[in-house]
């Protein structure tokens, strides 16, 4: 079937020329993408002095000391698990809570929906900077300053506007007939959520995960305000330690940045398969 489309498409678009143009564009983008990563990793093996002399050449005296010292000085052993906890915890939280609310907004009619839903949408436009001081005040008032709970709460809260918006829009498209027939069979709303909505919402769940995982992993401004104890800090705070106003210890900073980036890349390579699976699952419609 799909081969038929393929051959007719090629025939229409112009065959080799179109193919070549497509490859060229993609390759250009790829080169631009991979080079900075290569540059970063290459430079992380140079001492800072060497980097200041030549930023683009291969390291003449490669050294591992940047990694060792950066890891120690930045307490990365502590920060790493924290970043994992915050990123995974918050993303799961966002997806779950958004799907839940999305289901309610999309499929259960209520007058309360319009104002509450619009309230969420306003939140999409708020930046982290506006949140910094008010959140600090709140967190102190509630006595949850310097807790992982507060960090997770804040990360989930900031991801909800987009999450609820996308989830609601998506779930609206799920045929109501499915739900009605389940109701007639006597299923509770929660059961319907678990058995029907969640499996069918894989694509939007994946979308939300993509949106949030890299944002939270690299997030820096809010967590700086929310915690002060090193045991609770995340990777970006550790990485930031190495760039100052008077001088930057490039060697260690690059090592730190690579340490921060590699898990994301690895996770992403693994995760890529789930995208296809998730998308394929959503493509099957009843």
């Amino acid at each position: 079937m799909s081969d038929e489309i393929k051959t007719t498409a090629l025939g229409r678009i112009g065959g080799a020329a179109a193919k070549a143009a497509a490859y060229a564009m993609m390759l250009l983008f790829t080169a631009m993408t991979l080079y900075p990563i290569f540059w970063l990793i290459m430079n992380s093996f140079k001492s800072t002095r060497e980097f200041q002399v030549s930023q683009l050449a291969f390291p003449k005296e490669p050294t591992l000391s940047n990694y060792v010292e950066a890891w120690k000085m930045g307490d990365f052993g502590l920060l790493f698990p924290n970043s994992l906890i915050y990123t995974i915890g918050a993303t799961v939280g966002i997806v779950f809570v958004s799907l839940l609310a999305g289901f309610a907004f999309a499929k259960i009619a209520s007058r309360a929906t319009k104002p509450i839903y619009n309230g969420f949408v306003i939140g999409i436009l708020i930046t982290a900077q506006s949140l910094m001081i008010p959140l600090f005040l709140e967190v102190n008032l509630l006595g949850i300053y310097n807790t992982r709970f507060a960090v997770l709460l804040v990360y989930i809260g900031t991801g909800l506007p987009i999450g609820v918006y996308l989830a609601t829009e998506y779930i609206k498209a799920i045929p109501s007939a499915l739900i009605e027939s389940a109701r007639i069979d006597g299923a509770s709303f929660w059961r319907i959520f678990a058995k029907i909505i969640v499996p069918m919402s894989m694509p939007v769940a994946v979308t939300l995960s993509i949106l949030n995982i890299s944002n939270i992993w690299n997030e820096f401004a809010l967590i700086n305000i929310l915690v002060s104890r090193t045991e609770l800090k995340s990777l970006p705070l550790g990485i930031y330690k190495f760039s100052g106003s008077l001088s930057t210890d490039y060697g260690k900073q690059f090592a730190a940045l690579t340490i921060g980036m590699v898990p994301m890349l690895l996770f992403y390579i693994v995760f890529r398969k789930q995208i296809t699976r998730g998308v394929a699952a959503g493509a099957v419609k009843g």
Binding site: I5, T8, A9, L10, A22, M25, M26, F29, M32, T33, P36, I37, W39, L40, Q55, L56, S98, L100, A101, A104, I108, A109, R111, I116, F120, I122, G123, I124, L125, I126, T127, A128, Q129, S130, L131, I133, P134, L135, L137, E138, V154, I156, G157, L160, G163, Y165, F189, W190, T207, I210, L211, F220, I239, L257, L265, Y268, R272, I275, G282, A283
Partner: protein, 374 residues
């Protein structure tokens, strides 16, 4: 049908139990800051303990007046506008094209391309900013190449000039010609150009001519500097380019995922009916994706208005504010030295209102041009 206006019993319980988690977290994390932001923006709070310290109160729309009368605000707004335009009319179409290319199997290894094109999104902006500064620095690679080129040109002209007077034969005429080649800016370096330059050249007597020529090059060849980085408007171009590179991948994935949801049978039917590629695009694919396009536009708009770290890492808003955007403008007023929170929050709320307007326009556009989902 049961009465839809009031939620009874089980429906009511389900609704509220499902909405409450999101709603309560949201209230806690975002509602209070939003309200506080509005209150601060019309206050005269000037620092210190906010609740329970020195009393502060209503100050009217003073901060807003300051914002709108500040040329730097309009400068930042204009730059943000460029980003919004680029995001909506650059990232989205590009992402769409890439998605389409993959979808229509114009290139092999769809998984690989998807993966690679999304990676820029993951790279920390600090890396991008640093690499950026390195490449455009006066000591960086571009400068090196440009300077070498300029120098080579100047050098050959000098050599020709000296050859034309037969070697080290220095007179006022020669000196004047050299000064002409050097350009007017160099004249300021001397109190009395011709005699001084003559004296300088004569001091090389006995040394090889190549040394003299080399040093004259050092002296007069203009050093390349990325001037466009300090010109308003033009300075935004490299920034826009990097933004395009960073975020297109995300839209690629969104569009591709939704394209793959389209029932292939519909496309086949259209083909069998003789529809061209363009017609399939217009009548099948685009309408099916209209929801996604709108969502992406909304994401793009809100993202481009709140974007901060990337530009901050690359240029810091400079030099001299030419690449400053609203979030950096707000940052400069909110945290450095003597923070002006009423002003910063006024800026923040203006940003929210602008986003609102843009998103409203987007939704209106969808109603007019978009199609049904299925």
């Amino acid at each position: 049908m049961p009465n839809r206006n009031r939620l009874h019993g089980e429906e009511g319980r389900a609704y509220w139990s499902m909405v409450l988690p999101a709603f309560s977290i949201y209230l806690l994390v975002m509602a209070f800051p939003i309200v506080l932001s509005i209150v601060l923006s019309v206050s005269n709070y000037s620092g210190g303990k906010m609740f329970g310290g020195e009393p502060w109160g209503f100050a009217g729309l003073k901060s807003y007046a300051r914002v709108f009368s500040d040329p730097l605000f309009w400068n930042a707004l204009k730059n943000n506008f460029y980003i919004v335009l680029l995001s909506v009319f650059g990232q989205l179409p590009l992402g769409f094209i890439f998605a389409y290319i993959i979808y229509r199997r114009l290139v092999k290894w769809p998984g690989f391309w998807q993966g690679v094109l999304y990676v820029p999104n993951i790279i920390s902006v600090i890396v991008v900013g640093l690499l950026w500064q390195t490449i455009f620095s006066p000591n960086g690679p571009i400068a090196e190449v440009m300077n070498d080129l300029a120098r080579a040109g100047f050098q050959s002209r000098l050599e020709a000039l000296f050859a034309s007077v037969g070697g080290f034969n220095v007179d006022d005429g020669l000196v004047s010609k050299i000064l002409d080649m050097a350009g007017p800016a160099a004249l300021d370096w001397f109190s009395d150009p011709v005699p001084e330059l003559k004296e300088l050249i004569l001091s090389y007597e006995g040394a090889p001519l190549s040394e003299l020529i080399g040093d004259l090059c050092n002296l007069f060849v203009p050093r390349w500097s990325p001037e466009f980085l300090s010109k308003p408007n033009i300075a935004m171009l490299p920034v826009l380019f990097v933004i395009l590179w960073m975020y297109t991948g995300m839209y690629l994935i969104l569009f591709l995922a939704n394209m793959q949801k389209i029932d292939s049978q519909v496309i086949e039917a259209a083909r069998i009916d003789g529809a061209s590629e363009g017609q399939v695009m217009r009548y099948v694919i685009l309408p099916a994706l209209s929801g996604t396009i709108v969502n992406s536009a909304i994401l793009a708009i809100s993202g481009s208005l709140s974007s901060f770290s990337l530009i901050f890492a690359m240029t810091g808003g400079g030099p001299s504010r030419v690449t400053e955007i609203l979030s950096i403008y707000m940052y400069n007023n909110a945290f450095l030295g003597r923070p002006n929170l009423p002003l910063a929050n006024a800026i923040s709320l203006v940003m929210v209102v602008i986003s609102f307007i843009l998103i409203g326009l987007t939704k209106m556009a969808e109603k007019r041009y978009g199609g049904k989902e299925e």
